[in-house]
């Protein structure tokens, strides 16, 4: 047995424990419908968190993802509604919106990245700033209300969230695909190794001829693209965006990453752990909704305790082995 095994197993043990708890709490927990709900639900935070794994592994942080998601959602809805007047094919409109979404996400990520690397502003401040900017932009675009997708278009597009393949909703497949690509990128490529190196020690990485700025900027662009992908499957769910869309996603994504075993200070990251972390967060909410044993007022406390215990399982066991 090595300490690595404990570290890897920690979040997984927590997930299994929660799963067993869920079964005891309510019979409905294991129903096909509930399991597919949980998986589809965790895909938003999960996909965003996979991007965040890269940023955090490299020693950065991105607080803007939640409001970026709201902003991209708003842009997509406005664009699609506007295109309804000029383009007949609904599928073409949706395709164009998806392309625009990826472009905005990539660009927004690049802005975060360049401000961090070229302008030498701390990532925390840069992304705190862009967080405020995107949040008020979407509120402005919606006139303080809610942007709603054209009904006909919404009906067609909703298939992307509600449709299934081999019994699993599309968002779950997208989540899986992003996770696999993220895993390969982080663990099997030069870029991934550079992320670890930059996160461990920026100066050493720099002297080892790694283009630190480029690696860091790339992680923010990846993060932006992940937000865009999450948005592409989020918009068809309710067909609307408002100033409340994606609130606190940034904290949930960071929590999922840390629960999964990635170090907040950088230098070590695990995509598999992040996926498990996102599932744990969704499971907690789901289980609390399935029981009335816990007072509503205490939901937040239960979530807090479980998050801390999950991280303790992983860190505590790891430290004991030292």
């Amino acid at each position: 047995m090595t300490k690595i095994d404990f570290k890897t197993a920690g979040p997984f043990i927590a997930l299994v424990a929660l799963f067993i708890l869920g079964i005891f709490v309510n019979d409905a927990f294991l129903s096909a419908g509930n399991v597919s709900n949980i998986l589809a639900r965790s895909s938003f935070i999960g996909i965003v968190a996979i991007g965040a794994t890269f940023v955090i592994t490299t020693g950065g942080i991105d607080l803007s993802v939640g409001s970026m998601a709201a902003f991209i959602s708003g842009c997509m809805i406005l664009l699609m509604n506007a295109l309804m007047a000029t383009i007949d094919s609904l599928v073409t409109i949706i395709f164009l919106a998806i392309v625009a979404s990826a472009a905005i996400g990539g660009l927004a990520g690049m802005i975060n990245g360049l401000l961090t690397t070229k302008a030498k502003i701390e990532a925390f401040i840069v992304t705190l700033g862009t967080m405020g900017i995107y949040r008020s932009l979407v509120t402005y675009m919606a006139d303080g209300g809610t942007l709603s997708l054209n009904f006909t278009l919404g009906d067609v597009y909703s298939e992307v969230y509600y449709g299934t393949l081999f019994g699993l909703p599309y968002p779950v497949w997208v989540f899986l695909a992003v996770a696999v690509i993220g895993y390969v990128l982080l663990n099997m490529t030069v870029f991934g190794r550079h992320c670890f190196a930059v996160g461990s020690n920026e100066s050493v990485a720099h002297y080892s001829a790694i283009n630190v700025d480029r690696v860091k900027t790339a992680t923010y662009i990846l993060q932006g693209l992940c937000v865009s992908i999450a948005t592409i499957i989020y918009v068809p769910r309710l067909g609307s965006a408002s100033g409340q869309t994606g609130i606190l996603w940034e904290l949930e994504a960071i929590a999922a990453v840390i629960i999964g075993g990635t170090m907040l200070k950088g230098g070590y990251g695990r995509i598999g752990g992040t996926v498990v972390g996102a599932l744990i967060l969704t499971l907690i909410g789901n289980i609390l909704n399935l029981t009335d044993a816990v007072s509503n007022y205490l939901n937040g406390a239960v979530q807090g305790v479980i998050v801390i215990v999950a991280v303790y399982l992983q860190r505590g066991a790891w430290r004991a082995k030292d």
Binding site: G144, G145, T146, L238, S240, N289
Partner: protein, 352 residues
Amino acid sequence: MTNNEMKAVRAHSASGSLGEILCLSSLFAGTVINTVCKFAKHSILTLAASSLLLAVAPTLRAQTIGVSIPAATHGWAGGLNFHAEQTKARLEAANPGLKVVLVTANSASEQANDLEDLVAIHRMDALVILPFESAPLTGPVRNTKRRGVFVTVVDRGLSEPGIHDVYVAGNNAEMGRVSGEYIKERLDGNGKIVVLRGMPTVIDEQRFDGFMLALEGSNIEVLDDQYANWNRDDGFTVMQDFLSRFSEIDAVWAQDDDIAIGVIQAVRQARRQEELFIVGGGGMKDIVKRVLDGDELTPVDVLYPPSMISTAMELTALKFISDTPIEGEYILGSPLITRENAEDYYFPDSPF
């Protein structure tokens, strides 16, 4: 209203009053109307001229009503801003001697600053305020009142009694009661329901208590209640879990129209539209439209009108344009919006 627009309004009103003062002083001096007056509003010229003719000189400065409300950061507040702007336009068009200055704030402290500006720069005669929070704004409003400003408080009462001249508010307990009565009647006093609440606040508590009180004595079982934070995503998630958990649900009280939108999607996803109906609250145009169209899933809605700001502004204006006594407290009802009367509550241009 955006900051730019706000600046524009402020700039406009500032230049307006300057123009008036120049204009009036020149009239009193008996000089020929000078070029400055070309820029002043025609109506003010007429007003000033007629007062001169009658040799009566009441307050010749336009009466100013300051309106201070929270910025449009969520749906209901968006509706509030929409109605405030509409009412401002209507009041000013109908009463040339009346000026309405509308300011929006993002926090309680910003709103306190706004009050100072309204007094110092705009020299308002009356204030209509929907306080961001009751306690922190009680002091600033009291100070405004001491300077002789007529005070109308909307929706959230101040922490100290006796400050306001007029109080206009919705009735949260009544909103809960009306929703409860409808569900009880529609289910003939028998059935299983779930409740999605807002956030743990006084408003939510009053609505919930009113609702539960209305159900008392019936055989309606509330299977569970959970917070959905007054937003669509949480409405969707919580309802999905209720649907997994309970195989029989006869009705849903979503309390708020944003939550109701999420609930509708979850119910449609589970294809259980046939077995239940949803009662939201607020009067959001999307839901009112569904009621109007006779949607079986959302047969009714319960009003908690953001247009209460209009009620407050119109009442306050009466103080200046008539002798009508208006001081007192006005509690608005929460009528049931049904297919028959939905037309009256449908504002397609409003953001809410």
